[in-house]
Symmetry: C2
Subunit: 334 residues, 2 copies
């Protein structure tokens, strides 16, 4: 049976069930708009660890173990873990997985990693290659800041267009059996680069990639935007979100009524996050918390999660390259 | 149909065919033991590019285009590209894929990335999610050296246990139809860390991960080592290779007659590479060149390729962490 649909999409034959999710965040996220939707809020960004990197690794491991515990299961029932983060050589992920001791596939899609992992996890299940898969991502404001931008000690002033990396981790368990929202379709993105070179302008850089994938999803599946109760992008922030609405309008489609961006859903305006949230954990904690609970409560029944990734590196920026971006879409329905 | 076998393995229902492979290397690799098995040897490590990073990106794109051209096809027939490299944020891969314009999934498994990509590519094909997939990896001596170790200008003396990162890229096309070697089985590895902290000792650090995956492959599939004409690991080098033979001997299995390491197959002894080759391109150029040609000529009929990855980062080393390692195995038969 050919489950490929159109040019870049997949329609799952027996849509895998998201049996459980979990998340953990830092104090700033815990004081934000989604305060009631997190499993754990850390008291500070270090959480008794030796370094921010170790704290990020701790969060990732915690989220996976919590997601498995929430479905009254044990970690050894997970066939494979698919995970990734923003750090060089996926440092947070690798040290978390060392402790977990489960078979593991490392992914890098920057902030699109949760969507990439969920679609590959669903592929493993629907293809008969696994019975249960865990997908997890993390990001940490302080590890990202010193890796991508400036030494944190400098206290550099951030431009208004910049976004704030979410400190948090999120995990999703995919399986058959039980009830819950299902992964019904996915669209795998292409790299889109419109020439933006300012690494502070990640939202505007990623917006065309989100639009490219959303447009292709519509072409491939025949599902119009109105098919979904909600379309969410990962972390475009205020500027990127506005751009997506405009770019879709230019294609003759109005998504202003059922489109939101996870980057705009996490922080209150007075939290000084500027253009919004970013990081793998941006779509991660919104999906595993607020959105998953809305799906379970049937307040949302069909959503399209478009993970968006800014794939630049500090070296590519120093070499004066523009920012390659990608977006992967995953349809979740109950 | 459940294609999961044992704890960590997959037996493919309709094993996907490796319809084409291609590779490109630097001058040092071109003067080595496998000189006759490369599609292209660059005159120098820059190849008229502005930077070593751009040269690495050039190689990756070249290898994918060449692999597709060798099967008399065009790049738009490739449904998805799965690729990765050693650079922070997969810089070489992302800029290559920007030019290629194909749907893309980014992987990070350090030097195990080719095996990870081949097994996920086979999963996409065997599960009915794709008709043709390209898998590609790259590494570059000079980009790796300045990222992982010292500024290249320093001219630091290398210890005898250290390995030399291969400058090269390799691509594999997986599809149905046509003839060629098939991916029949795979084993997904766990992270193994025996406490080695010296980033020059990657071979010894990775050896236990290779043994863990090989042992699990035997348990899961019932295929004894003698089932394979050749078992190859990715880039353990002389010291790691000896360790693998010893560790398997301790488990009561003699693999000394049909086991080799790609890291020991690339450079001549007088090329000053010390303990051998490393990098994503180590198993990459050996598999896509020498091994693929041996399979096509039926001089080898059943091989097990164990991609081995050292998952440390410069930051984890500076934070005095030991080296987490992984190995994924892919069985290729004709």
């Amino acid at each position: 049976m050919n489950k490929k649909q159109g040019k870049q999409s997949i329609i799952f034959g027996a849509p895998p069930i998201i049996t459980s999710t979990a998340n953990i965040v830092g104090p700033m996220e815990g004081e934000g708009l989604l305060a009631g939707y997190f499993d754990q809020v850390m008291a500070d960004n270090l959480n008794n660890q030796d370094s921010w990197e170790k704290c990020e690794s701790y969060m990732l491991e915690w989220a996976i173990r919590k997601a498995v515990a929430k479905e009254n299961s044990t970690i050894d029932t997970v066939d494979y873990v698919l995970a990734g983060d923003l750090l060089n050589q996926l440092m947070a992920t690798h040290f978390a997985l060392r402790s977990l001791g489960r078979p593991f596939l490392g992914l890098y899609g920057a902030c699109s990693t949760l969507a990439e992992g969920m679609l590959l996890g669903a592929v493993l299940l629907d293809g008969g290659f696994a019975n249960k898969v865990a997908v997890a991502v993390s990001s940490h404001h302080d590890t990202a800041e010193r890796q991508y931008r400036f030494p944190t000690e400098l206290g550099v002033q951030r431009p208004p267009i910049s976004q704030w990396t979410v400190t948090g981790a999120a995990a999703v368990v995919l399986a058959y059996g039980g009830s819950g929202p299902r992964v019904t379709a996915a669209t795998i993105g292409k790299i889109i680069d419109m020439g933006i070179k300012d690494p502070n302008a990640m939202g505007p850089a990623m917006a065309p990639a989100a639009v490219d994938t959303l447009w292709q999803h519509i072409q491939d599946t025949g599902r119009q935007p109105a098919y979904y109760d909600l379309i969410v992008t990962g972390d475009l922030g205020v500027v990127g979100k506005t751009l997506v609405i405009q770019l879709m309008q230019e294609k003759g489609l109005d998504i202003s009524q059922n489109y939101e961006d996870c980057g705009c859903m996490i922080y209150r305006e007075d939290q000084d996050a500027h253009a919004g949230a970013s990081g793998c954990a941006s779509s991660g904690v919104v999906f595993t918390g607020y959105l998953y609970q809305m799906l379970q409560a049937r307040k949302l029944q069909k959503i399209l999660v478009i993970g968006t990734g800014s794939l630049h590196s500090p070296i590519s920026y120093q070499q004066k390259e523009s920012i390659p971006c990608i977006a992967h879409a995953v349809a979740v329905e109950i």
